[in-house]
Symmetry: C2
Subunit: 514 residues, 2 copies
């Protein structure tokens, strides 16, 4: 325990540090760190000098969801879960943190973005970074070799947030995965069908899904003369093609990564290709590509995939695109990524030799779903290394929330589902209102009444207008005497007298379409 005087001295010194940084206009991050230390010191002292001084905010890169945002979120989740259930998925949940060692070695360079918990004695813990690694851990731990599951939960990355574009440090993932030994490409095709259903139902406008295969990429690298030990790093450069123009990508390959100019140009030829089953067929006959066993395996599967996609009626949404690489290490086969934008599927991207940057608008919202096959991950957890092949997709709901929130900015979005407000036209009718609202609750009607003894009728009606309540059941002396209720439709202001006995039926009838 630090002595009180000592702490007070430390507060003085730390206060100076903060003032100095502010005077020097240091970065916000730097100042935040020092302010946090200062507050920590002040908290040690306790007492009223701390009260009301703290910053009223959520942690960097996080946000609250207000009721309107929650209403949008609920709608999006209902659509997504509806689709997952339509395809027969079960759901599981895992803890928000895992043993640190469970996450170690799964994310390559991105491991630095993992949130660790403080060592407070006991196990070393980290917040989950995605839902895929916990899923693999779950399968291995429970010796499950077959499952079709979805998991919707928040994950955590100490990234630099770009919140206006829908990127946060705490964000939702919506994952659907199929684990098990099956005949090739059937589950893979179903994942693409699911992405297509969801993006279609969410009504986000045009979209297309790029597909490729890790084996095709690796085969391509091999036949282009990329040395074995450079596959991964060249692959991650190719992955930047959605953000950088071909010239810059080529520069990085040649100048930074030491690839020969010739190899880079050859890669450039391939990564400009895109099409459908026809492209797979063509490449199977390509004199160079056909020399790689890996590439041929990937291309045959791609052909098979497109034949299933045709049966699933989604070929118009899917493009075989050799420039798609995806960053994560654990993919072993098919990979895909869905992108919003005007019919990107049919407009060819500018050929790499032109060196023009890709059209910005088609990338402004970036990818909204992605996934692929990862046949080796579960084996990393299994004590006997037993493999469980998996393929899955993750829906980028945060991007989707951002888009729909923007759309809804002007609109009125209801945040409650109340069907009827029980109101009173005169004073001293609180008890009668509570009696009636209880009757409605008993019948399963969504109803409320204001928490005031004598609210004005006008303020009761205003409440309905503001929160979109469609009906008002108005009680007055007269109505009570006659065993009636005045039922008012808020939108039309039309009022009818309904007998108390018929009220519930009448409300149900009038709100059945809501």
């Amino acid at each position: 325990m630090a002595d009180r005087a000592e702490t007070q001295e430390a507060i003085k010194v730390q206060g100076e540090v903060v003032r100095k940084l502010k005077a020097e206009k240091a970065s916000k991050d730097q100042i935040d760190v020092e302010v946090a230390k200062l507050l920590e010191l002040k908290l040690r002292l306790g007492g009223d000098d701390v009260k009301h001084q703290f910053v009223l905010k959520t942690p960097k890169g996080t946000r609250d969801y207000n009721p309107k945002q929650m209403a949008i979120r609920e709608k999006v989740f209902n659509t997504i879960v509806g689709c997952f259930k339509r395809h027969g998925a079960e759901t599981i949940d895992t803890p928000v943190f895992e043993l640190k060692e469970t996450l170690t070695g799964k994310y390559g360079e991105d491991s630095k973005l993992i949130y660790d918990l403080k060592d407070q004695g006991g196990e070393l813990l980290s917040l989950r970074y995605d839902l895929t690694v916990p899923f693999a851990r779950y399968l291995a731990m429970n010796k499950i070799s077959n499952i079709k599951r979805y998991h919707i939960a928040k994950v955590y990355r100490r990234d630099n947030p770009a919140m206006t574009r829908g990127r946060y440090r705490e964000f939702y993932q919506c994952d659907f995965d199929i684990a098990g030994h099956y005949d090739p490409m059937i589950p893979d095709a179903e994942c693409l069908r699911i992405v297509s259903e969801i993006l279609g139902e969410l009504d986000l406008g045009d979209f297309h899904i790029k597909v490729n295969d890790r084996r095709i990429l690796d085969g391509m690298f091999a036949v282009c003369g990329v040395p074995d030990d450079k596959f991964r790093t060249i692959c991650s450069t190719v992955d930047k093609l959605d953000k950088m123009c071909w010239e810059d990508v080529k520069n990085e390959m040649v100048k930074e990564k030491g690839l020969s100019e010739e190899a880079a140009d050859m890669i450039g030829q391939y990564v400009s290709m895109h099409g459908g089953m026809d492209l797979a067929v063509r490449l199977l006959e390509d004199p160079k590509m056909s020399q790689s066993k890996q590439a041929c395996a990937g291309l045959s599967d791609m052909k098979q995939l497109f034949s299933y996609l045709e049966l699933f009626q989604v070929t118009d949404k899917v493009v075989f695109d050799l420039s798609l690489a995806r960053g994560l290490d654990y993919y072993t086969g098919v990979i895909y990524e869905a992108v919003l934008g005007p019919a990107g599927a049919t407009t060819p991207p500018p050929p790499p030799q032109v060196g023009a940057p890709k059209a910005e608008e088609s990338l402004s919202v970036g990818s909204v779903a992605g996934g692929g096959r990862y046949d080796g991950l579960v084996g990393m957890f299994d004590p006997k290394g037993r493999a469980v092949p998996c393929v899955g997709v993750s829906i980028g709901v945060e991007r989707i929330f951002s888009i729909l929130e923007q759309k809804a900015e002007a609109e009125k979005v209801r945040t409650t589902e109340v069907q009827v407000l029980v109101a009173s036209a005169q004073k001293n009718l609180l008890e009668e209102r509570l009696r009636l609202v209880t009757e409605l609750w008993n019948a399963g009607i969504k109803a409320e009444s204001m928490f005031k003894k004598n609210p004005k009728l006008l303020s009761q009606l205003q409440h309905c207008e503001e929160s979109g309540i469609p009906l008002v059941a108005i009680l007055g002396e007269q109505e009570l005497k006659n065993g009636m209720v005045k039922l008012r439709t808020v939108a039309t202001r039309e009022e009818v007298d309904v007998s108390r006995a018929d009220l519930i039926e009448e409300i149900r009838k009038r709100t059945s379409t809501v």
Copy 2:
């Protein structure tokens, strides 16, 4: 960076530590700490010697939810959310972690149970401990003075888990709160009505809700001669009456906390009282109690509360119980707690003078909901100290999950909602199956087909039995030729031929009650 040889040496030493602890049969916690250190060291070395060596588990005090548990969880949440919505609530969400300072000073002694995140640069963060403090922070931050909201999310406490009894370090809270300046006891009564509706609908058997008021407790302490500065500590001793017999509680008051024997006995008289509105009326006339202004304010409100509870038709479930204290510091008025158990409301607890422990069976599952009024919490966050009165209730869903999971152990619980499996009776019909399942998805039918090219009919039927799929649409050469499908009802094994054009209607008709 530690040198590799140095790390290897450290691993050797740490290995010895672990072996020694195990030999000495040290506590699991102690061993866990040292094993974690050992693994951390091994991870620094990397390489294959670590692989397959880590412990395949979830962190202490946490659990995965398997599909069956999730199905139960979903049902419970649907019931609870349905009730919250019936009462007109909106919902919000907040981040899983808050600035450390946001939580500081809110939980008294329990603060030591807060999970802190590691200082990785930037802000100091802690995992949320409940949903009430984030709610208060949200109200102050957004200057909201009126809201009826629910929030369902996980919270974190580094407690000693008793997992078999449904206590975890990561667990759900389901909170409903009403914030705003309203006429007294109307929102408070609605909270009790909500608890009663939810516990009734969840079909957990008998339950009753104890209510009391912080002001009545404080007034009682005053008239019994408890010194002002001992209110809180004596209150927390009273709170133990649900776990300890009166004699032990009295002992703690007198011997540990230095209360006079006479004061303790007087408290003993009061805390044995319970009843309904009648008890509030009686105590308002009690020669001692009536001397405390605070007690009188609480008792008048209690009278008022019971009058509203009568209108809400829940008086049979609610008991005014002077022994209810509740731990949290922030309550300022009414407090309540729902307890499962056989008609506890009507059986008087053993009088304190007998000294018998309370019947164990009535406490075995403990409280399943609790809450109260906290009028000061938002003001602790507001820069101007502006108060927003709040009252709320938290449903103890983890206990409820435990009970329902136990009940469901023998039962078959469906974990998917698939209505129909598209099956084939002969080989080489994969394409036809995929074509049909696509038609069904297009029509919104929940359908699946096996991911094998040529599954046996028997294994397809078995899959339906196992996962409770009610219908099978069987395709064969004959059916395809005639434009028909054989529709089989799994439960009865009855089969009918349906024309392809009528299939969707037929499936809808047969599963409309599902």
